[in-house]
Protein backbone atom coordinates (compact mmCIF):
# COMPACT_ATOMS: atom_id res chain seq x y z
CA UNK A 1 0.00 0.00 0.00
CA UNK A 2 1.22 3.50 -0.74
CA UNK A 3 1.16 6.53 1.58
CA UNK A 4 -2.36 7.67 2.38
CA UNK A 5 -3.87 4.32 1.38
CA UNK A 6 -6.14 4.19 4.40
CA UNK A 7 -6.82 7.89 4.22
CA UNK A 8 -7.41 8.21 7.94
CA UNK A 9 -6.59 11.27 10.02
CA UNK A 10 -6.26 14.99 9.47
CA UNK A 11 -3.33 16.79 7.93
CA UNK A 12 -1.68 18.92 10.61
CA UNK A 13 -1.02 22.60 10.04
CA UNK A 14 2.49 23.95 10.45
CA UNK A 15 1.34 25.60 13.64
CA UNK A 16 0.07 22.32 15.01
CA UNK A 17 3.33 20.53 14.30
CA UNK A 18 5.45 23.37 15.66
CA UNK A 19 3.54 23.48 18.93
CA UNK A 20 4.18 19.84 19.78
CA UNK A 21 7.55 19.39 18.06
CA UNK A 22 9.63 20.26 21.12
CA UNK A 23 12.51 17.82 20.88
CA UNK A 24 16.09 19.10 20.69
CA UNK A 25 19.01 17.20 19.22
CA UNK A 26 22.75 17.43 20.01
CA UNK A 27 23.32 19.22 16.68
CA UNK A 28 20.94 21.92 17.88
CA UNK A 29 18.04 20.85 15.66
CA UNK A 30 14.88 21.99 17.35
CA UNK A 31 16.36 24.82 19.41
CA UNK A 32 14.11 27.89 19.22
CA UNK A 33 14.92 31.58 19.05
CA UNK A 34 15.66 33.31 22.31
CA UNK A 35 18.52 33.30 24.80
CA UNK A 36 19.44 33.40 28.45
CA UNK A 37 22.50 34.20 30.52
CA UNK A 38 23.96 32.50 33.59
CA UNK A 39 22.86 35.44 35.71
CA UNK A 40 19.31 35.34 34.45
CA UNK A 41 19.41 31.62 35.04
CA UNK A 42 20.33 32.02 38.69
CA UNK A 43 17.06 33.88 39.28
CA UNK A 44 15.03 31.22 37.51
CA UNK A 45 16.84 28.47 39.35
CA UNK A 46 16.34 29.98 42.77
CA UNK A 47 12.64 30.53 42.13
CA UNK A 48 11.75 27.25 40.48
CA UNK A 49 14.47 24.68 41.06
CA UNK A 50 16.48 25.13 44.22
CA UNK A 51 13.71 23.86 46.50
CA UNK A 52 14.24 20.33 45.15
CA UNK A 53 17.73 20.29 43.69
CA UNK A 54 19.47 22.43 46.32
CA UNK A 55 20.97 25.89 46.07
CA UNK A 56 24.03 24.65 44.15
CA UNK A 57 22.51 21.60 42.48
CA UNK A 58 23.69 19.40 45.31
CA UNK A 59 20.29 17.64 45.53
CA UNK A 60 17.84 17.33 48.42
CA UNK A 61 16.84 14.05 49.99
CA UNK A 62 16.25 11.72 47.10
CA UNK A 63 15.80 14.50 44.54
CA UNK A 64 18.56 14.36 41.94
CA UNK A 65 21.90 16.12 42.28
CA UNK A 66 22.54 18.33 39.27
CA UNK A 67 26.22 19.07 39.91
CA UNK A 68 29.33 17.58 41.39
CA UNK A 69 30.59 14.04 41.09
CA UNK A 70 33.42 14.81 38.66
CA UNK A 71 35.94 11.99 38.64
CA UNK A 72 33.75 9.59 40.61
CA UNK A 73 32.48 7.44 37.74
CA UNK A 74 35.02 4.69 38.27
CA UNK A 75 34.71 4.87 42.05
CA UNK A 76 32.74 2.67 44.35
CA UNK A 77 29.88 5.16 44.72
CA UNK A 78 29.80 7.10 41.47
CA UNK A 79 27.81 10.32 41.30
CA UNK A 80 26.23 10.76 37.90
CA UNK A 81 25.39 14.42 37.30
CA UNK A 82 25.17 16.79 34.41
CA UNK A 83 28.80 17.69 34.90
CA UNK A 84 30.14 14.25 35.61
CA UNK A 85 28.01 12.17 33.27
CA UNK A 86 25.77 13.84 30.70
CA UNK A 87 27.13 13.57 27.16
CA UNK A 88 25.15 16.39 25.50
CA UNK A 89 24.17 19.90 26.54
CA UNK A 90 21.12 19.81 24.23
CA UNK A 91 19.57 17.17 26.48
CA UNK A 92 19.57 19.66 29.35
CA UNK A 93 17.58 22.26 27.42
CA UNK A 94 15.25 19.57 26.08
CA UNK A 95 14.60 17.96 29.44
CA UNK A 96 14.18 21.13 31.49
CA UNK A 97 11.82 22.49 28.86
CA UNK A 98 9.68 19.34 28.66
CA UNK A 99 9.68 18.19 32.27
CA UNK A 100 10.84 20.85 34.76
CA UNK A 101 9.94 22.30 37.15
CA UNK A 102 8.57 18.93 38.16
CA UNK A 103 5.17 20.19 39.32
CA UNK A 104 4.65 22.44 36.27
CA UNK A 105 6.08 20.87 33.11
CA UNK A 106 6.46 23.12 30.03
CA UNK A 107 5.67 26.21 32.06
CA UNK A 108 8.98 28.04 31.46
CA UNK A 109 9.49 30.39 28.53
CA UNK A 110 12.18 29.54 26.02
CA UNK A 111 14.31 32.38 27.39
CA UNK A 112 13.94 31.01 30.91
CA UNK A 113 14.99 27.55 29.73
CA UNK A 114 18.05 28.99 27.97
CA UNK A 115 18.92 30.89 31.10
CA UNK A 116 18.56 28.07 33.60
CA UNK A 117 20.40 25.73 31.22
CA UNK A 118 23.28 28.20 31.17
CA UNK A 119 23.16 28.44 34.96
CA UNK A 120 23.20 24.67 35.53
CA UNK A 121 26.09 24.32 33.08
CA UNK A 122 27.91 27.01 35.00
CA UNK A 123 27.20 25.28 38.33
CA UNK A 124 29.04 22.35 36.79
CA UNK A 125 32.00 24.53 35.68
CA UNK A 126 31.23 23.70 32.05
CA UNK A 127 30.65 27.28 30.94
CA UNK A 128 31.87 30.59 32.31
CA UNK A 129 29.73 33.09 34.21
CA UNK A 130 29.37 35.26 31.12
CA UNK A 131 27.95 32.47 29.01
CA UNK A 132 24.77 33.25 27.13
CA UNK A 133 22.87 30.23 25.84
CA UNK A 134 21.09 30.38 22.52
CA UNK A 135 20.59 28.14 19.52
CA UNK A 136 24.08 28.79 18.26
CA UNK A 137 26.11 28.59 21.47
CA UNK A 138 24.45 25.62 23.14
CA UNK A 139 25.26 22.96 20.51
CA UNK A 140 28.90 23.96 20.76
CA UNK A 141 29.18 23.30 24.50
CA UNK A 142 31.42 20.32 25.05
CA UNK A 143 30.40 18.07 27.89
CA UNK A 144 33.31 16.64 29.91
CA UNK A 145 32.13 13.04 29.82
CA UNK A 146 30.89 12.90 26.23
CA UNK A 147 33.80 10.78 25.05
CA UNK A 148 33.11 8.01 27.51
CA UNK A 149 29.97 6.57 25.98
CA UNK A 150 29.80 3.56 23.71
CA UNK A 151 26.70 3.83 21.54
CA UNK A 152 26.77 0.28 20.26
CA UNK A 153 25.53 -2.46 22.49
CA UNK A 154 28.41 -4.91 23.09
CA UNK A 155 26.13 -7.55 24.55
CA UNK A 156 25.99 -10.49 24.79
CA UNK A 157 29.10 -9.77 26.83
CA UNK A 158 28.93 -13.13 28.60
CA UNK A 159 29.15 -16.46 26.80
CA UNK A 160 28.36 -19.53 28.81
CA UNK A 161 28.44 -23.20 28.10
CA UNK A 162 25.41 -25.02 29.38
CA UNK A 163 27.16 -27.17 31.97
CA UNK A 164 24.83 -29.75 33.58
CA UNK A 165 26.91 -31.40 36.32
CA UNK A 166 29.91 -30.67 38.51
CA UNK A 167 29.84 -27.13 37.20
CA UNK A 168 31.86 -25.41 39.89
CA UNK A 169 35.41 -25.86 41.02
CA UNK A 170 34.86 -24.77 44.58
CA UNK A 171 32.16 -25.64 47.02
CA UNK A 172 29.22 -23.30 46.87
CA UNK A 173 28.77 -20.92 49.79
CA UNK A 174 26.54 -18.00 50.65
CA UNK A 175 28.38 -14.67 50.39
CA UNK A 176 25.54 -12.34 51.26
CA UNK A 177 22.01 -12.69 52.50
CA UNK A 178 19.05 -10.38 52.67
CA UNK A 179 18.11 -11.84 56.04
CA UNK A 180 17.97 -9.34 58.85
CA UNK A 181 18.63 -6.34 56.63
CA UNK A 182 15.20 -5.01 57.33
CA UNK A 183 14.83 -3.28 54.01
CA UNK A 184 11.82 -5.21 52.69
CA UNK A 185 8.38 -3.65 52.96
CA UNK A 186 5.63 -6.04 53.94
CA UNK A 187 4.21 -8.19 51.17
CA UNK A 188 1.14 -9.19 53.17
CA UNK A 189 -1.68 -7.12 54.58
CA UNK A 190 -2.54 -3.71 53.21
CA UNK A 191 -0.06 -1.55 51.34
CA UNK A 192 3.02 -0.91 53.49
CA UNK A 193 3.27 2.88 53.49
CA UNK A 194 5.42 3.13 56.53
CA UNK A 195 9.04 3.03 57.35
CA UNK A 196 10.94 -0.17 57.66
CA UNK A 197 10.46 -1.81 61.04
Amino acid sequence: ESAGYYGVGETPTEEQIAAWDIDIRPDGAGLPEGSGSVDEGMAVYETYCASCHGAFGEGMGRYPKLSGGEGTLAEDRPEKTIGSYWPYASTLWDYIHRAMPFFAPQSLTDDQVYAVTAYVLNLNYIVDGDFVANKDTLPKVEMPNSGNFVWEDPRPDIQNERCMSDCKDEEVSVADSSQGKNLTPSTTGPLDEGLIE
Binding site: G4, K80, D94, P156, P185, L195
Partner: protein, 400 residues
Amino acid sequence: VGGALAGLAPGALAKSKYPPENPSWTLSLGPGVVADPYGMPSPFESEVIRRNVPWLTADKVSSISFTPLQHLKGIITPNGLFFERHHAGRPEVDPQQHRLMIHGLVERPIILSMADLQRLPSVSQINFIECPANGGMEWRGAQLNSLQFLHGMVSCAEWTGVRLSTLLQEVGMKPEGKWVLAEGADGAAMTRSIPMAKALDDVIVAYAQNGEALRREQGYPIRLVVPGWEGNTHVKWLRRLEVGDKPWMQREETSKYTDLMADGSARGFTWVMEAKSVITSPCPEMPLGQKGVYQIEGLAWSGNGKVKAVDVSVDGGMNWQQAPLREPVLSKSLTRFALEWAWDGNPALLQSRVIDETGYVQPTLHQLRKARGSNSIYHKNAIQTWKVNADGSVINVQLS
Protein backbone atom coordinates in the same frame (compact mmCIF):
# COMPACT_ATOMS: atom_id res chain seq x y z
CA VAL B 1 -3.07 -17.04 43.67
CA GLY B 2 -4.29 -17.55 47.14
CA GLY B 3 -3.86 -14.22 48.84
CA ALA B 4 -5.59 -15.68 51.84
CA LEU B 5 -3.19 -18.60 51.65
CA ALA B 6 -0.02 -16.59 51.19
CA GLY B 7 2.79 -17.90 53.28
CA LEU B 8 0.70 -20.69 54.70
CA ALA B 9 2.23 -24.06 54.07
CA PRO B 10 -0.09 -26.95 53.18
CA GLY B 11 -1.23 -28.68 56.31
CA ALA B 12 -0.75 -25.52 58.34
CA LEU B 13 -4.39 -24.62 57.71
CA ALA B 14 -6.91 -24.88 60.44
CA LYS B 15 -8.94 -28.02 59.91
CA SER B 16 -12.23 -27.01 58.39
CA LYS B 17 -15.67 -28.02 59.57
CA TYR B 18 -16.50 -28.70 55.93
CA PRO B 19 -17.29 -31.52 55.32
CA PRO B 20 -19.37 -32.85 57.02
CA GLU B 21 -21.09 -29.51 57.58
CA ASN B 22 -22.35 -27.36 54.75
CA PRO B 23 -21.03 -23.82 54.60
CA SER B 24 -23.53 -21.00 54.63
CA TRP B 25 -22.91 -20.22 50.96
CA THR B 26 -24.20 -23.67 49.96
CA LEU B 27 -27.41 -23.14 51.91
CA SER B 28 -28.34 -19.73 50.54
CA LEU B 29 -28.40 -17.61 47.41
CA GLY B 30 -25.60 -15.25 46.47
CA PRO B 31 -25.87 -11.95 44.60
CA GLY B 32 -27.10 -12.29 41.01
CA VAL B 33 -25.46 -11.44 37.72
CA VAL B 34 -24.31 -7.86 37.07
CA ALA B 35 -23.99 -7.33 40.81
CA ASP B 36 -20.62 -6.12 39.54
CA PRO B 37 -20.95 -5.05 35.90
CA TYR B 38 -17.17 -4.83 35.90
CA GLY B 39 -15.93 -7.58 38.22
CA MET B 40 -13.30 -7.42 40.93
CA PRO B 41 -11.27 -10.09 42.75
CA SER B 42 -12.64 -11.80 45.83
CA PRO B 43 -12.10 -9.82 49.04
CA PHE B 44 -10.14 -12.86 50.22
CA GLU B 45 -7.52 -11.88 47.62
CA SER B 46 -7.09 -8.34 48.92
CA GLU B 47 -3.41 -8.93 49.70
CA VAL B 48 -2.66 -9.61 46.06
CA ILE B 49 -1.74 -6.07 45.04
CA ARG B 50 0.98 -4.03 43.46
CA ARG B 51 3.34 -2.73 46.13
CA ASN B 52 6.12 -0.16 46.21
CA VAL B 53 9.35 0.28 48.15
CA PRO B 54 8.94 3.65 49.87
CA TRP B 55 12.66 4.27 50.40
CA LEU B 56 13.51 3.74 46.75
CA THR B 57 12.28 7.02 45.25
CA ALA B 58 11.75 10.61 46.30
CA ASP B 59 8.13 10.61 45.37
CA LYS B 60 5.47 8.13 44.20
CA VAL B 61 4.89 10.40 41.23
CA SER B 62 8.20 9.35 39.71
CA SER B 63 8.41 5.84 41.00
CA ILE B 64 7.74 2.16 40.48
CA SER B 65 5.35 -0.46 41.79
CA PHE B 66 5.90 -4.18 41.61
CA THR B 67 3.75 -7.05 40.34
CA PRO B 68 3.05 -9.73 42.98
CA LEU B 69 4.66 -12.53 40.96
CA GLN B 70 4.44 -14.83 43.98
CA HIS B 71 0.66 -15.00 43.53
CA LEU B 72 0.51 -15.27 39.75
CA LYS B 73 0.03 -18.34 37.58
CA GLY B 74 0.41 -18.91 33.87
CA ILE B 75 1.92 -16.18 31.70
CA ILE B 76 -0.75 -13.46 31.57
CA THR B 77 -0.51 -10.67 34.13
CA PRO B 78 -4.00 -9.47 34.96
CA ASN B 79 -4.34 -5.79 34.13
CA GLY B 80 -4.99 -4.74 37.72
CA LEU B 81 -1.60 -6.10 38.78
CA PHE B 82 0.62 -4.97 35.91
CA PHE B 83 3.66 -3.16 37.32
CA GLU B 84 3.74 0.65 37.14
CA ARG B 85 6.55 3.01 36.24
CA HIS B 86 5.67 6.67 35.97
CA HIS B 87 7.94 9.69 35.65
CA ALA B 88 5.27 12.32 36.26
CA GLY B 89 2.39 10.29 37.63
CA ARG B 90 -0.45 8.75 35.71
CA PRO B 91 -2.24 11.26 33.48
CA GLU B 92 -6.01 10.99 33.14
CA VAL B 93 -6.21 11.18 29.36
CA ASP B 94 -9.53 11.81 27.64
CA PRO B 95 -9.50 9.56 24.58
CA GLN B 96 -11.87 11.86 22.69
CA GLN B 97 -9.35 14.67 23.03
CA HIS B 98 -6.18 12.64 22.66
CA ARG B 99 -4.35 12.70 19.32
CA LEU B 100 -1.34 10.96 17.80
CA MET B 101 0.70 13.21 15.52
CA ILE B 102 3.15 11.59 13.07
CA HIS B 103 5.55 13.93 11.29
CA GLY B 104 9.18 14.63 10.45
CA LEU B 105 10.84 12.96 7.46
CA VAL B 106 7.54 11.77 6.00
CA GLU B 107 5.56 12.55 2.85
CA ARG B 108 2.25 13.05 4.56
CA PRO B 109 2.19 14.03 8.23
CA ILE B 110 -1.06 13.14 10.01
CA ILE B 111 -2.96 13.65 13.19
CA LEU B 112 -4.94 10.58 14.24
CA SER B 113 -7.87 10.32 16.59
CA MET B 114 -8.26 7.13 18.59
CA ALA B 115 -11.15 6.14 16.30
CA ASP B 116 -8.91 6.64 13.26
CA LEU B 117 -6.36 4.28 14.77
CA GLN B 118 -8.96 1.59 15.38
CA ARG B 119 -9.87 1.63 11.69
CA LEU B 120 -6.40 0.48 10.65
CA PRO B 121 -5.32 -3.17 10.45
CA SER B 122 -4.29 -4.39 13.87
CA VAL B 123 -2.28 -7.21 15.39
CA SER B 124 -2.23 -8.90 18.79
CA GLN B 125 0.91 -10.11 20.52
CA ILE B 126 1.60 -11.60 23.93
CA ASN B 127 4.75 -9.81 25.11
CA PHE B 128 6.42 -9.16 28.42
CA ILE B 129 7.47 -5.67 29.45
CA GLU B 130 10.34 -5.41 31.91
CA CYS B 131 11.90 -2.34 33.42
CA PRO B 132 15.66 -2.63 32.92
CA ALA B 133 16.08 -1.60 36.57
CA ASN B 134 14.29 -4.79 37.67
CA GLY B 135 16.51 -6.21 40.42
CA GLY B 136 18.85 -3.26 40.08
CA MET B 137 19.09 -2.77 43.85
CA GLU B 138 21.02 -6.01 44.16
CA TRP B 139 24.20 -5.35 42.20
CA ARG B 140 26.23 -4.85 45.36
CA GLY B 141 24.61 -7.38 47.60
CA ALA B 142 21.43 -9.11 48.71
CA GLN B 143 19.06 -6.48 50.08
CA LEU B 144 15.40 -7.35 49.67
CA ASN B 145 13.78 -10.58 50.73
CA SER B 146 10.84 -10.79 48.38
CA LEU B 147 10.09 -12.13 44.93
CA GLN B 148 7.71 -9.23 44.38
CA PHE B 149 10.30 -6.53 45.07
CA LEU B 150 13.25 -8.34 43.51
CA HIS B 151 11.63 -9.32 40.21
CA GLY B 152 8.21 -7.70 40.02
CA MET B 153 9.11 -5.03 37.44
CA VAL B 154 8.12 -7.52 34.75
CA SER B 155 4.61 -8.26 33.53
CA CYS B 156 3.12 -9.82 30.42
CA ALA B 157 -0.05 -9.15 28.46
CA GLU B 158 -1.73 -9.65 25.14
CA TRP B 159 -1.32 -6.30 23.37
CA THR B 160 -3.44 -5.25 20.42
CA GLY B 161 -2.78 -2.30 18.19
CA VAL B 162 -1.46 -1.09 14.89
CA ARG B 163 1.99 -2.02 13.68
CA LEU B 164 4.28 1.00 13.63
CA SER B 165 5.28 -0.16 10.15
CA THR B 166 1.65 0.24 9.00
CA LEU B 167 1.61 3.80 10.31
CA LEU B 168 4.96 4.63 8.76
CA GLN B 169 3.74 3.27 5.44
CA GLU B 170 0.59 5.36 5.69
CA VAL B 171 2.60 8.58 6.21
CA GLY B 172 5.20 7.58 3.61
CA MET B 173 8.69 7.59 5.06
CA LYS B 174 11.40 9.51 3.33
CA PRO B 175 14.55 7.47 2.64
CA GLU B 176 16.64 9.59 5.04
CA GLY B 177 14.41 8.49 7.93
CA LYS B 178 16.54 6.29 10.18
CA TRP B 179 15.12 6.90 13.64
CA VAL B 180 11.71 7.43 15.23
CA LEU B 181 11.18 9.60 18.28
CA ALA B 182 8.25 8.54 20.46
CA GLU B 183 6.81 11.08 22.90
CA GLY B 184 4.22 10.73 25.65
CA ALA B 185 1.44 13.08 26.70
CA ASP B 186 2.29 12.84 30.40
CA GLY B 187 3.92 15.54 32.48
CA ALA B 188 7.32 14.01 31.72
CA ALA B 189 6.55 14.20 27.97
CA MET B 190 8.57 10.98 27.98
CA THR B 191 10.73 10.46 24.91
CA ARG B 192 12.85 7.70 23.42
CA SER B 193 14.62 7.31 20.06
CA ILE B 194 13.90 4.02 18.28
CA PRO B 195 16.06 2.91 15.35
CA MET B 196 14.16 2.31 12.13
CA ALA B 197 15.00 -1.40 11.86
CA LYS B 198 13.20 -2.08 15.13
CA ALA B 199 10.39 0.35 14.31
CA LEU B 200 9.65 -1.58 11.12
CA ASP B 201 10.06 -4.97 12.75
CA ASP B 202 7.63 -5.78 15.57
CA VAL B 203 6.78 -2.49 17.31
CA ILE B 204 3.10 -1.71 17.74
CA VAL B 205 1.05 1.30 18.79
CA ALA B 206 -1.15 -0.58 21.23
CA TYR B 207 -4.63 0.40 22.37
CA ALA B 208 -5.63 -2.81 24.12
CA GLN B 209 -4.18 -4.90 26.91
CA ASN B 210 -5.56 -8.36 27.60
CA GLY B 211 -8.60 -7.71 25.46
CA GLU B 212 -9.80 -4.43 26.95
CA ALA B 213 -8.62 -0.85 26.55
CA LEU B 214 -5.14 -0.18 27.91
CA ARG B 215 -5.13 0.64 31.58
CA ARG B 216 -4.24 4.20 32.53
CA GLU B 217 -1.13 2.95 34.31
CA GLN B 218 -0.03 1.34 31.05
CA GLY B 219 -0.61 4.32 28.79
CA TYR B 220 -4.34 4.69 28.10
CA PRO B 221 -5.40 5.30 25.43
CA ILE B 222 -2.26 4.32 23.47
CA ARG B 223 1.31 3.25 24.10
CA LEU B 224 4.24 1.89 22.20
CA VAL B 225 5.02 -1.81 22.63
CA VAL B 226 8.61 -2.53 21.65
CA PRO B 227 8.82 -6.31 22.11
CA GLY B 228 11.82 -7.53 24.07
CA TRP B 229 13.26 -4.05 24.64
CA GLU B 230 13.64 -2.26 27.94
CA GLY B 231 10.36 -1.02 29.38
CA ASN B 232 11.18 2.67 29.16
CA THR B 233 11.14 2.49 25.34
CA HIS B 234 7.45 1.43 25.42
CA VAL B 235 6.38 5.08 25.60
CA LYS B 236 2.99 5.44 27.30
CA TRP B 237 0.22 7.96 26.62
CA LEU B 238 1.84 8.24 23.20
CA ARG B 239 1.08 11.49 21.44
CA ARG B 240 3.81 12.02 18.89
CA LEU B 241 6.03 10.07 16.52
CA GLU B 242 8.70 11.93 14.60
CA VAL B 243 10.85 10.39 11.89
CA GLY B 244 14.40 11.73 11.80
CA ASP B 245 17.85 10.95 10.48
CA LYS B 246 19.65 10.82 13.86
CA PRO B 247 18.81 9.81 17.43
CA TRP B 248 17.73 12.58 19.78
CA MET B 249 19.86 11.70 22.82
CA GLN B 250 17.09 12.42 25.22
CA ARG B 251 17.46 12.44 29.00
CA GLU B 252 16.09 8.88 29.21
CA GLU B 253 18.78 7.60 26.83
CA THR B 254 21.75 9.50 28.24
CA SER B 255 21.43 10.41 31.91
CA LYS B 256 19.23 7.36 32.54
CA TYR B 257 19.04 3.94 30.91
CA THR B 258 22.74 3.98 30.14
CA ASP B 259 24.96 1.49 31.90
CA LEU B 260 28.02 2.68 33.82
CA MET B 261 30.93 0.26 33.65
CA ALA B 262 33.57 -0.25 36.32
CA ASP B 263 36.14 1.80 34.36
CA GLY B 264 33.89 4.85 34.24
CA SER B 265 32.84 4.38 30.63
CA ALA B 266 29.17 3.92 29.88
CA ARG B 267 27.10 1.94 27.43
CA GLY B 268 24.21 3.60 25.68
CA PHE B 269 21.45 2.15 23.53
CA THR B 270 21.42 -1.14 25.42
CA TRP B 271 17.86 -1.83 24.47
CA VAL B 272 17.39 -5.58 24.55
CA MET B 273 16.34 -7.32 27.75
CA GLU B 274 18.62 -10.35 27.73
CA ALA B 275 17.24 -13.70 28.83
CA LYS B 276 16.33 -14.10 32.48
CA SER B 277 14.49 -16.51 34.72
CA VAL B 278 13.41 -16.79 38.32
CA ILE B 279 11.86 -19.42 40.54
CA THR B 280 8.48 -18.11 41.70
CA SER B 281 7.62 -21.02 43.98
CA PRO B 282 9.10 -21.49 46.45
CA CYS B 283 10.21 -17.94 47.13
CA PRO B 284 10.50 -15.74 50.23
CA GLU B 285 6.75 -15.10 50.18
CA MET B 286 5.86 -18.74 49.42
CA PRO B 287 7.95 -20.90 51.76
CA LEU B 288 7.89 -24.68 51.88
CA GLY B 289 6.01 -26.69 54.50
CA GLN B 290 6.94 -30.22 55.52
CA LYS B 291 9.47 -32.16 53.50
CA GLY B 292 7.97 -33.99 50.54
CA VAL B 293 7.26 -33.63 46.85
CA TYR B 294 7.10 -30.05 45.54
CA GLN B 295 6.88 -28.44 42.14
CA ILE B 296 9.66 -25.91 41.62
CA GLU B 297 7.97 -23.43 39.36
CA GLY B 298 9.08 -20.26 37.70
CA LEU B 299 9.13 -17.83 34.83
CA ALA B 300 11.65 -17.35 32.04
CA TRP B 301 11.77 -14.81 29.23
CA SER B 302 14.07 -13.37 26.61
CA GLY B 303 14.07 -10.14 24.66
CA ASN B 304 15.85 -12.01 21.89
CA GLY B 305 13.06 -14.46 21.09
CA LYS B 306 11.77 -17.69 22.53
CA VAL B 307 12.87 -19.53 25.62
CA LYS B 308 14.57 -22.73 24.47
CA ALA B 309 15.13 -24.41 27.83
CA VAL B 310 15.29 -23.79 31.55
CA ASP B 311 17.50 -25.68 33.96
CA VAL B 312 17.01 -25.88 37.71
CA SER B 313 19.64 -26.48 40.37
CA VAL B 314 19.00 -27.28 44.02
CA ASP B 315 22.67 -27.14 45.02
CA GLY B 316 23.59 -23.58 44.11
CA GLY B 317 24.53 -24.28 40.51
CA MET B 318 26.79 -27.29 40.88
CA ASN B 319 24.34 -29.63 39.12
CA TRP B 320 21.41 -28.84 36.87
CA GLN B 321 18.33 -30.58 35.59
CA GLN B 322 16.23 -29.45 32.64
CA ALA B 323 12.75 -28.32 33.66
CA PRO B 324 9.80 -28.92 31.29
CA LEU B 325 8.32 -25.77 29.76
CA ARG B 326 4.60 -25.07 29.71
CA GLU B 327 2.72 -24.24 26.55
CA PRO B 328 2.46 -21.78 24.95
CA VAL B 329 6.13 -20.83 24.44
CA LEU B 330 5.92 -17.51 22.63
CA SER B 331 8.59 -15.10 21.46
CA LYS B 332 9.41 -12.23 23.86
CA SER B 333 6.80 -13.50 26.27
CA LEU B 334 6.91 -14.89 29.78
CA THR B 335 7.24 -18.68 29.73
CA ARG B 336 6.49 -21.02 32.65
CA PHE B 337 8.65 -23.91 33.71
CA ALA B 338 8.19 -26.45 36.49
CA LEU B 339 10.26 -29.30 37.85
CA GLU B 340 9.25 -31.81 40.46
CA TRP B 341 11.49 -31.90 43.53
CA ALA B 342 11.44 -34.27 46.45
CA TRP B 343 12.63 -32.05 49.27
CA ASP B 344 14.39 -34.02 51.99
CA GLY B 345 14.01 -31.30 54.58
CA ASN B 346 17.63 -30.15 54.40
CA PRO B 347 18.76 -26.65 53.46
CA ALA B 348 19.10 -26.16 49.71
CA LEU B 349 20.19 -23.47 47.24
CA LEU B 350 17.63 -23.15 44.45
CA GLN B 351 18.45 -21.57 41.09
CA SER B 352 17.00 -21.45 37.62
CA ARG B 353 18.87 -20.75 34.41
CA VAL B 354 17.28 -19.95 31.05
CA ILE B 355 18.71 -20.71 27.62
CA ASP B 356 17.05 -18.76 24.82
CA GLU B 357 16.74 -19.53 21.14
CA THR B 358 19.96 -17.67 20.36
CA GLY B 359 21.80 -20.14 22.61
CA TYR B 360 22.45 -17.50 25.26
CA VAL B 361 22.78 -18.98 28.74
CA GLN B 362 21.67 -16.82 31.69
CA PRO B 363 24.76 -15.61 33.58
CA THR B 364 25.63 -15.54 37.26
CA LEU B 365 25.82 -12.27 39.15
CA HIS B 366 29.51 -12.99 39.51
CA GLN B 367 29.95 -12.96 35.77
CA LEU B 368 27.91 -9.80 35.33
CA ARG B 369 29.95 -8.02 37.99
CA LYS B 370 33.18 -9.15 36.38
CA ALA B 371 32.07 -7.85 33.00
CA ARG B 372 30.37 -4.64 34.12
CA GLY B 373 31.19 -3.80 37.72
CA SER B 374 28.47 -3.06 40.25
CA ASN B 375 27.28 0.37 39.16
CA SER B 376 25.41 -0.23 35.95
CA ILE B 377 22.01 -0.35 37.70
CA TYR B 378 20.22 -1.73 34.66
CA HIS B 379 20.06 -5.12 32.94
CA LYS B 380 20.80 -7.30 35.96
CA ASN B 381 19.58 -10.58 34.48
CA ALA B 382 21.65 -12.74 36.82
CA ILE B 383 20.63 -16.14 38.13
CA GLN B 384 18.64 -15.70 41.36
CA THR B 385 19.53 -17.88 44.33
CA TRP B 386 16.93 -18.79 46.93
CA LYS B 387 18.23 -20.40 50.11
CA VAL B 388 15.74 -22.90 51.53
CA ASN B 389 16.20 -23.34 55.25
CA ALA B 390 15.37 -26.52 57.15
CA ASP B 391 12.22 -24.85 58.48
CA GLY B 392 11.04 -24.26 54.91
CA SER B 393 11.64 -20.52 54.92
CA VAL B 394 13.21 -19.07 51.78
CA ILE B 395 15.82 -16.31 51.68
CA ASN B 396 17.31 -14.20 48.92
CA VAL B 397 21.06 -14.84 48.98
CA GLN B 398 24.06 -14.23 46.77
CA LEU B 399 26.73 -16.87 46.37
CA SER B 400 30.46 -16.41 46.68
